[in-house]
Amino acid sequence: MRRLALLLLIVGCDRPTGPPQAGTPAVDSRGKTVLIPPRPGRIVSLAPSTTELLFDVGAGDQVAGVTTFCEFPPEARSKPKIGDLVLDLEKLSALRPDLVVTAWSLTQKTSADLEAKGYAVFGVDPQSFEEIAAALVALGDITGHAPEGRRAAEALMSRVRAIGPYEGPTFYFEHSADPLGTTGPETYTGRALRLAGGRNIFEGAWRNAVDWESVMARDPEVILIAHDGRGALERRAGWEKLRAVRKGRVYFVPKEHYIYPTPRLVEGLEEASRLFHEKNP
């Protein structure tokens, strides 16, 4: 009898908990057709970038759950949390989401699991300003905010277009001090910095973790520090001898302007462009 009860319990857990799929087909960034319910009202977002994009198109009220990483816009902080890198599936299913929106490349495994359970999972994965604009349009379309999505995309692209072509200084961008972390040119951050007119000292090589020695050897003209570890910079080997330090071209920039593929990246673009244009004092 106890064995039977246990069996029933297991079977009960395995039943697909997602809603039945019905609605308008929409193609997401994977090229997959997802059935979107008419005007989804209980959206769960699995990444900070998608949460932000949903608020940008005016669908914030329809968001039912976010991750603990989702801190922007501030309204997102008061939304129910469904986990961080690891999802709390019980909390998620208790929210009875009618749509899951995610940055596909960050959450491949989890998203595939959720799809297998019957949830509608819509992925966006912008890697450039054009793709951020496209994501705004797509999310506007599926949440019933098509005009807002288009307006947000147009506002973003007009700011991007206002940045003229420029062959500026070489630069080193650092988003983490321990371990040292930078970005190569093939990321959305790298592309934005290129667009701003900077020449990445790690151009041509994929880099995330770097050795301080290779920064010293490339001796950039500008250094952008996007983390809080600024106090320990002076004790780095050869710090005062670096060209950027001698010329006073080490700039501290807010990390959040650079690390999310959302319209906030244009703040980073404009800021970096301004800094790259600054003449050597």
Partner: protein, 319 residues
């Protein structure tokens, strides 16, 4: 014992090779440019020195604990130093404590305090009526290590923001942009603890006969144990607080050296200290040359290179 001078000569050669290779790797034959000069003098030199000091500290701590516990599996992290240091470092990283003490950052100070604190706690737990039983200390140490490890996991669960920093610390990392700063932390710890160990080498030899026999030969067993435990813990904590958890060096190097120069701690201790330093300096060169630009985790290199060599030594027939 005629092999001792030869071994020491070999070690010196190894050390010189390590020093030359580390400093000149990829420099080329053209005259030194200003930048190359800065890199070699201000980065590579202190980095190699740091690798040497950390390796030496771990090996010193390992040989001390192996003798003290009369246990071949003893390593610097045996009595909870690593767990305590991890807890100290991770809580200061996660809680975002920003302060400096004697010019040292809070994570370094917290890790050092945590490591030494854990060892002290284990010692206090194992002390019954003024006597410390080594098995008791070993068990208390592993309990504290497990407890601290669990707290670290819980802390990590509540703060996912600093995972990178914590992981890099747990894997061991010599690639800090400020090697001189770290040298200033490790060097005094090593100097103090290794001197104490060398001074007590004879007592350590006698303790190998068993505590009763040592006592009959005039060794104040409890005091000697206390001093040596403190020395071994300080050496380990200094290394762990600056460069994270670099495994294997502290376990293997003492064994290798013991096979070469024999078990007399008066020779074994100093040779192990130098050999440990040379081994880690070489491992650092390997990690940097295998993957230039973004070096491999040093802990992986020491284990991948060290384990097969150690197995070879174990299987080799004694000559």
């Amino acid at each position: 014992m005629r092999r001792i001078p030869r071994t020491i000569a070999l070690l010196g050669l190894l050390l010189a090779a390590a020093a030359i290779v580390t400093v000149s790797l990829g420099v080329g034959s053209e005259p030194f440019s200003r930048v190359t000069r800065t890199i070699v003098l201000e980065y590579r030199l202190p980095r190699s020195l740091l690798a040497f000091l950390v390796g030496a500290s771990l090996a010193a701590s390992g040989v001390c604990f192996q003798g003290l516990f009369r246990n071949a599996l003893a390593d610097p992290f045996l009595i909870g130093v690593s767990g305590g240091a991890a807890l100290g470092a991770v809580s200061s990283i996660v809680l975002g404590v920003e302060m400096t003490l004697l010019g040292l950052g809070s994570a370094t100070v917290a890790a050092f305090a945590g490591g030494v604190g854990a060892a002290f706690l284990a010692y206090q737990i194992a002390r019954v009526r003024g006597r410390v039983r080594m098995e008791g200390l070993l068990l208390a140490g592993s309990a504290i290590g497990a407890f601290a490890g669990a707290l670290v996991s819980v802390l990590l669960l509540y703060s996912t923001r600093n995972w990178n920093e914590v992981i890099s610390w747990l894997m061991g990392n010599l690639g800090h942009p400020d090697p001189w700063y770290r040298v200033k932390v490790v060097a005094p710890c090593l100097l103090a603890s290794a001197s104490v160990m060398v001074v007590y080498a004879r007592e350590l030899n006698l303790l190998l006969l068993g505590e009763e026999s040592a006592a009959q030969l005039g060794v104040e067993a409890e005091r000697v144990k206390r001093v040596l435990l403190a020395a071994g813990s300080v050496a380990a904590a200094g290394a762990v607080a600056t460069c994270g958890m670099i495994g294997f060096v502290g376990l293997i190097v003492p064994h290798v050296v013991r096979r070469l120069v024999g078990p007399d701690h008066r020779t074994l201790l100093p040779v192990t200290v130098v050999a440990g330093g040379a081994a880690l300096a070489l491992a650092d060169v390997v990690s940097r040359s295998l993957s230039p630009g973004s070096p491999l985790p040093i802990g992986a290199v020491t284990a991948i290179g060290g384990a097969p060599f150690f197995v070879y030594l174990l299987r080799r027939k004694p000559s």
